[in-house]
């Protein structure tokens, strides 16, 4: 079921010297039960985009279809109503510092004018759900970052929204708490069947959580795919840059050595990721294969890996490439410059 359809969304900020096209014609959709990832480096426009979705930022043009209406054309009052169907969590949690955990979680219910006993019941239910019953009467300053974000998740869920907007929700957390929050988001989708739009600059997050991922650069979605295909055969340099792990810095550093030979990016999917294909092909076709970089990514849908290799002056390079393709390996030729700059 389609939850959200965004069409050709634009938002420009007038700056002193020039206009900044933060969101420059973006279209995508999100289904029920789906975690849709928008990933990009800072400045790509993803924060502006997600803030446009619940109209915290008014888009200049474009459509935001949610719950049967185009939010972009609605009055403030209608938007306010629809925001109740759309929870939001933030990088810095944005909890009310002078309200207890209970009052934070209860806030959307209170604003919506729910009955007192209903508010209390629902708040306690949610605090139980996030596993913080011990902290019901505590203030946010007494909680760790991970706990704060869990409270924020509970607050965002208070009114049973259909969609959750997650704005860099794990960027301020350490790895342990990041994992905790991610598994909680996964759980939320399972338990409540909602959809999530998640923006992040961490490929790790997209990897662990998302079904489909869109890569943003300069206010545009430059590439959108299911996460497996994206990792397997990234089309854009920006995507490769986001996928690249720390391991690759070595290859980049020593890539001055890359001169001779054709360079390829090989994408391995489930079946081929575990097999010793390279050495097998090297022997069979009498090619010398120099491995420049590589990584295996554990995704929601299965494992995918990649290698950046160069074929040194070799025997049957054509045959080797053909064999790789036949074994389900995705081949992307790279120029030496590609390889140096954007492994």
């Amino acid at each position: 079921m389609r939850l959200l359809t965004v069409k050709n969304l634009r938002k420009t900020f007038a700056q002193e010297k020039e206009a900044i096209h933060a969101v420059n014609g973006v279209s995508f959709h999100v289904d029920k039960g789906e975690i849709y990832g928008l990933i990009g480096l800072s400045g790509a426009g993803k924060s502006t985009l997600i803030r446009c979705l619940n109209l915290l930022e008014r888009p200049d043009s474009g459509e935001i279809w949610f719950d049967g209406i185009d939010l972009a054309t609605q009055s403030e009052a209608v938007v306010r109503e629809k925001r109740r169907e759309m929870g939001m969590i933030f990088q810095h949690f944005n909890l009310f510092m002078r309200k207890t955990v209970e009052d934070n979680v209860a806030y959307p219910l209170r604003i919506a004018g729910r009955e007192r006993h209903e508010i209390k019941k629902r708040a306690h239910e949610l605090i139980d759900y996030i596993g913080l019953s011990k902290y019901t009467r505590a203030y946010p300053a007494e909680l760790s970052g991970g706990q704060k974000q869990r409270v924020a998740i509970a607050r965002a869920l208070a009114l049973n929204p259909k969609l959750l907007l997650s704005d860099e929700a794990t960027s301020a957390l350490d790895p342990v708490n990041t994992e905790l929050v991610l598994s909680m988001l996964r759980q939320v989708v399972q338990d409540f069947g909602i959809g999530i739009v998640l923006i992040t600059h961490q490929m790790e997050v997209a990897k662990a959580l998302c079904g489909r991922v869109a890569v943003m650069e300069n206010g545009l979605i430059i590439e959108e795919n299911d996460v497996e295909t994206l990792f397997l055969s990234p089309k854009h340099q920006a995507t490769r840059r986001l996928i690249r792990g720390v391991e690759d810095t070595f290859a980049v550093k020593h890539s001055g050595a890359i001169t001779a030979g054709n360079i390829y990016r090989l994408g391995f999917r489930r079946e081929s990721v575990r097999r010793p294909l390279i050495s097998h092909i090297s022997r069979k076709y009498n090619v010398d294969i120099n491995i420049l970089a590589g990584d295996i990514n554990v995704l929601q849908t299965g494992d995918v890996g990649y290698l950046v290799v160069s074929f040194e002056d070799a025997g049957d390079e054509e045959g080797a490439l053909k064999a790789l393709r036949e074994n389900g390996v995705e081949l992307v030729p790279l120029t030496a410059e590609d390889a140096v700059n954007h492994l």
Partner: protein, 221 residues
Amino acid sequence: MMTLELMKSTLETLEMVTVSSLFSVLLGLPLGVLLVLSRPGGLRPRSALYRALDAIINVFRSLPFLVLMIMVFPLSRLVTGRATGTTATIVPLAVAAIPFVARIMEQSLLEVDGGVLEAGLASGAKISQLVWTVLIPEALPALVNGITITVINIIGNSAMAGAIGGGGLGDLAVRYGLYRREPFMLYISVAIIIVLVQLVQWLGGYLERRLRRDGKVTVSA
């Protein structure tokens, strides 16, 4: 006789300070909220309104209290029927304090993190709900601190007002200290004013600390 006069003057000062503080906060806080909402980049930017308010507040704040008091005489007469006396003096005290309160409330409210306000909006709050349920509660310790400063300021001004027919402890100090050359009463009135200021400072500080503690670590396991 002297004790009676002291009591009377102290009560007058208390009346002037309490009532004018009340009015200045009652009118100054909404102005502060209005400034925060209407400022450029605020939740409801209204450039013209903001600039006008800003200018008026600056003008009123630059007027020395003594001058302002004389200027406000007609207003005092209109409101209370008299230009001098304790009740009449409440008017200039409040008028002088309102722009001060507005500015101080504005500064306190601006300290509230924009992200927290956004969380309120994203939860479905109207601006008016946001003001009452997030903006003011989150800024409360700073607001209390601002009110403390205001009351102390008004105590100072009320003593000055006494000198030109306002009654209260300032009046007492001028009459005995200046005209009658009886320094004892002067010192006593000064001492009472000091005690008043200290009391307000202590009470305000206590309240502020209590409020701030709410948002901070209260227990350690």
